[in-house]
Symmetry: C2
Subunit: 203 residues, 2 copies
């Protein structure tokens, strides 16, 4: 062990994060020693609070410091539309766009028969309850275009079939600004299948 | 502010680290919520200790949890040779090689007339004291090959001129495994100047 124990402990902690390898963890640990006392204090408090203060919203299951998250509690949001996502972090991705003003529903996973994740294992029953009790007009399914994502989307559309609600799915295709050379063939196949008619009709 | 306050605080802390941008800080903050209680506890303790427990070795100025660092206190190290480095992190770089068994001396900076860093502002006087009191036979200057590095190396070799000690400097040149296409011209110039004769003499 070439580092003092405290530095070693910091390295071990930083290494737990995704995308932080040995070298980056070492750099971060050594940089920690240069942080001011007030940053260290804020850091320690935020870490402690992360386990204690962050719970899930009782309505949409998003991260929240209160029983109801700020989105569900916001009177200005459109309460007739729900965007269904896999994880809380997806909520923030959509919030960053700034143009979606509806509500969310966090599934906390996707149905995966291969990994033994059944519909009961994810937060689908609460979605059904929301559709039944609230005035929901549209459910947008915004999960990733994988086997699990498609299975989950199909399952949700099935159980909501008889409810008077529009089910939609976000578009998949070639991302904006992508270099065509680097788009994989599955994405291209999807983009081809879901092509849009742009004919100009001069009648 | 789209994130709950606790998550926002974590993002602000992670963003302080070099190489961690907004996006990575967000990813790390969200991942923090998934860490186990024991990791959070270790993390909190290590952060608190980082300010309290890590001091500088009274001999070499390296990071240490005691008055004298483990390297200076190690009886098996070669006490006749000192490797002079800019920062504590450089010590660990040399320790990783595993083949250097001498001592170190951390300058905590390099002489830079442009940035008003004079010899008195860095830890050179203690180096002189060590040469005068301990049985030092060689001083290896291992600082980066910049104007500041060269100035510092020259200054140290000047003040040690009259002492009975060998002064050396680590070699600069093309790094191992480097693609010649990507080696910058200053490095190439240095590599050319410091070329070694490898003539086979068949006498």
């Amino acid at each position: 062990m070439i580092y003092p124990e405290t530095i070693n402990d910091l390295i071990e902690c930083y290494k737990k994060f995704p995308g932080i390898g040995e070298k980056n963890a070492e750099r971060m640990a050594l940089y920690t020693l240069e942080l001011g006392q007030e940053v260290i204090d804020l850091f320690v408090q935020a870490l402690k609070k992360s386990k204690k203060n962050i719970k899930r919203c009782q309505i949409c299951n998003n991260f929240s410091e209160n029983d109801i998250c700020t989105i569900c509690a916001n009177e200005n949001r459109n309460k007739n539309i729900i965007c269904v996502v896999e994880e809380p972090k997806n909520v923030y991705q959509f919030e960053k766009i700034g143009s979606y003003h509806g509500l969310y529903h966090v599934l906390d996973g996707l149905i995966s028969p291969l990994e033994n994740v059944n519909p009961d294992d994810i937060n689908i029953s609460n979605l059904l309850k929301r559709i039944e009790t609230d005035d929901i007009k549209e459910v947008i399914i915004a999960v990733k275009p994988s086997v699990e994502g498609e299975t989950t989307a199909l399952y949700i559309s099935k159980i909501l079939e008889k409810k008077n609600v529009i089910i939609s799915k976000i578009a998949h295709g070639v991302p904006l600004g992508a270099d065509m050379d680097y788009v994989d063939s599955l994405t291209l196949e999807l983009a081809l299948e879901e092509r849009k008619n742009i004919t100009c009709n001069h009648e």
